[in-house]
């Protein structure tokens, strides 16, 4: 009995002593932290894609907790998740339009002129040497830098052309900066019609190096429900994303070079090697 009591007493004393020391130190070296940041971080997807504009999910969580941004800025989270975060913090989730990336080039190997290139197999490196060795100075170089950057495997390399799969793309925008030709833009997910060309050159020059270039023939502008649905900018036509054309435009316009495409059909390979 004595042994037990002594042991208990000794352990208690030791514990109390150490507790005192730790308590005093903890008070002396106190650091303030917000536990909510960690919780919110846990509720985020954790892929650290940076689509929200912050350096990773933890940083974004901190910004939400501090009120610098809103949960819906996360392009990857589902609506349910975003609502959960907002409820947890007692704030409004806000709204953000769902976007997807579009790579505005249709120049696969089959339809473009290319020079033999020997060097680093990376778009940004290749762009520094002979502009990527492609006939078109503005087209997809095809070394998959964007595909490697995509955390969701939404970009496929097909015949030397990067193609976005809209159903996989979350619109995080991680690929945008990797393209040395600035071909990638984030567009409203609801819009399916895009012009797959970015070259501002004259139509004749473009056609010399690429069969699917936009030659600014304006067939699509005329075929559109309203003239403002397609924007003409020099020798290049683009979809007007604030007043987007309807998907049936592709059918109606009969684009002679098939530069006007549906993103979903483009991903499915419907226009591969097609030219009229």
């Amino acid at each position: 009995m004595t042994i037990i009591l002594t042991a208990v007493l000794f352990a208690t004393l030791l514990g109390a002593l150490l507790a005192l020391v730790i308590g005093v130190t903890a008070k002396a070296f106190e650091v303030e932290t917000d536990a909510r940041v960690e919780t919110v971080t846990g509720m985020l997807p954790g892929v650290n894609c940076g689509g929200c504009g912050y350096a990773g999910c933890a940083d974004f969580a901190k910004a939400i907790v501090e009120g610098r941004t809103i949960p819906s800025q996360c392009p990857v989270s589902t609506a349910v998740n975003i609502t959960r975060i907002a409820e947890y913090l007692g704030i409004t989730a806000g709204e953000k339009e769902k976007t997807i990336a579009v790579i505005r080039c249709g120049g696969s190997c089959a339809v473009t002129v290319r020079s033999p290139y020997n060097g680093v197999g990376d778009c940004r490196s290749a762009a520094l040497v002979a502009g990527g060795a492609k006939g078109c100075d503005f087209g997809c170089i095809g070394f998959a830098s964007c595909a490697r950057a995509c955390p969701f495997d939404a970009i496929e390399m097909r015949d030397g052309l990067a193609v976005v799969h809209p159903e996989l793309c979350t619109g995080c925008g991680k690929c945008v900066d990797t393209c040395p030709k600035n071909l990638i833009i984030l567009t409203p997910a609801a819009v399916d019609v895009h012009v797959y060309c970015s070259s501002p050159e004259k139509g004749a020059i473009k056609l010399k190096v690429c069969k699917t270039a936009c030659i600014a023939c304006r067939k699509c502008v005329k075929a559109a429900d309203s003239e403002t649905q397609m924007t003409v900018n020099g020798f290049l036509v683009t979809a007007n994303y604030s007043n987007p054309p309807l998907p049936d435009l592709v059918e109606k316009a009969k684009c002679p070079t098939t530069a006007l495409r549906l993103a979903s059909q483009h991903a499915a390979g419907a226009y591969e090697g097609v030219s009229k």
Partner: protein, 442 residues
């Protein structure tokens, strides 16, 4: 200066292949029917075009004016009509704006400048203005505007003329020094006057003994010292040349004037003579057209704007298909994929390389042999940096001083694994610069 040939640390010794064209005297290329002058030929701001389609121009007439301090004007290579102002293949295989002039065959000098024969008693500022007006750039390859170098903001005590011509194959400067020896030295004297100096030194690699002895024969008259340099690539790189001649190290990110030096290419010096003494702007240059596949390699005096295809025709065309067409030398030149690119002020060579000699890059792993570390004239670690770049760790590459790299290509030249080291560094430098710009915007 001692008499012993000098060198810098590191470097490589590629086969110089200069014999193909070294003994060929400079020929003047015949007048062509059409010239396509690329507008942006200098480092810095692109000049502003001052002519429009349909304008009639005289030879030497201003066709584009300098836009800012680091920029040079451009002049018509011959008399004729401006027939187009549009894009043409540029030296980086990307289309660039150019002015197309169709010659009228008269080749009439407009003589835009009054010749200054009494240069010894002319105000240096007037001489410097002439260098700017004549549109003279560094003709060794970089194309840096000469008048900028002649306007140092720090005290300068040494004028160096770069006659090293360390690039294999190229012989344009060699022939120039041999055939226009007095002009080179006179140019040095004029440049020295602009800088307020009495003397100048000209560095020549010892594989050009004929040029050295010829220069030595008359150098005294112009107060110029001729210094032999050991054959070692990149001896002609500005920083390495300064080190070999003066023992001074140009700081990373610094300019020669930081160590009291100004370096000018010998061809630029001759262009200065033509601008000052004859009143002629910079509209032609000597270019080596060479390479094993060529029927008749040699050195030609081309007008700016001469298409490469015409230059190759002059050299008799090719015996067989080459693997690469380069503007410049094989170590730092630019590979071309079009024969329509035209001769520019800094085109020191047009070179065809046969398939057997061309360097094929593979991405075999680095075996850490250290060859690149040994030969790097900037004393950085190419092998480690390239691994950093392969893993996109540009912050690490910056820590390893990739920004000091002069892209001489010695590392890629010596790599037994055939790694594209130089391209990695180019990428790293571009990414670091882009990141800095982004930060500044914020």
């Amino acid at each position: 200066m001692s008499d012993k040939p000098r060198k810098f640390k590191g470097g490589v010794h590629p086969a110089d292949s200069k014999a193909l064209s070294a003994s060929k005297p400079v020929q003047t290329a015949p007048l062509l029917g059409k010239y396509t002058v690329i507008v942006h030929q200098n480092i810095g701001a692109s000049p502003e075009i001052v002519v429009k389609k349909g304008d009639v121009v005289k030879k030497g007439q201003l066709i584009a004016k300098a836009a800012g301090f680091v920029s040079v004007p451009l002049h018509a290579p011959t008399s004729g009509t401006v027939t187009a102002i549009e894009k043409c293949p540029g030296p980086a295989c990307v289309s660039v704006p150019a002015i197309e002039i169709t010659a009228d065959g008269q080749d009439d000098w407009g003589l835009p400048f009054e010749p200054i024969t009494d240069w010894q008693n002319t105000d240096p500022a007037v001489l410097k203005q002439r260098v700017l007006d004549a549109g003279i750039v560094g003709m060794g390859g970089a194309g840096f505007p000469s008048h900028v170098k002649l306007s140092p903001t720090k005290p300068v005590d040494t004028l160096i003329l770069n006659g090293a011509e360390c690039e294999p194959y190229l012989t344009a400067d060699h022939r120039l020094m041999l055939e226009q020896t007095e002009d080179v030295l006179l140019g040095a004297a004029i440049l020295a006057r602009i800088l307020g100096l009495k003397t100048a030194v000209i560095g020549v690699e010892e594989n050009k003994p004929d040029a050295i002895s010829k220069l030595n024969g008359v150098a005294g008259k112009y107060n110029v010292t001729v210094q032999e340099l050991r054959v070692n690539y990149p001896q002609g790189a500005e920083k390495q040349l300064i080190y070999a001649l003066t023992g001074r190290e140009v700081p990373i990110g610094g300019l020669p004037m930081d160590v009291g030096c100004v370096v000018q290419n010998v061809a630029s010096a001759v262009a200065v003579v033509e601008a000052v003494i004859k009143g002629q702007p910079s509209i032609e240059r000597i270019t080596t057209v060479t390479g094993e596949p060529l029927v008749n390699p040699g050195n030609w005096r081309f007008r700016i704007g001469t298409p490469v295809s015409k230059a190759l025709e002059l050299a008799g065309g090719v015996k067989y298909q080459p693997a690469k067409l380069l503007l410049g030398g094989p170590m730092m030149g630019f590979a071309q994929n079009s024969l329509d690119v035209t001769v520019m002020k800094n085109t020191s060579g047009i070179l065809l390389i046969p398939a057997g000699q061309v360097s094929q890059y593979t991405s075999e792993p680095c075996i850490r042999c250290g060859r690149c570390v040994e030969c790097c004239p900037m004393d950085i670690l190419p092998a480690t940096i390239s691994q950093a770049v392969e893993n996109e760790r540009f912050d690490w590459a910056e820590q390893l001083n990739v920004t000091a790299c002069i892209e001489c290509g010695s590392c890629s030249y010596s790599c037994p694994s055939h790694r594209p080291l130089n391209q990695h560094f180019k990428r790293a430098k571009a990414e670091i610069l882009a990141a800095k710009r982004k930060q500044q915007k914020k």
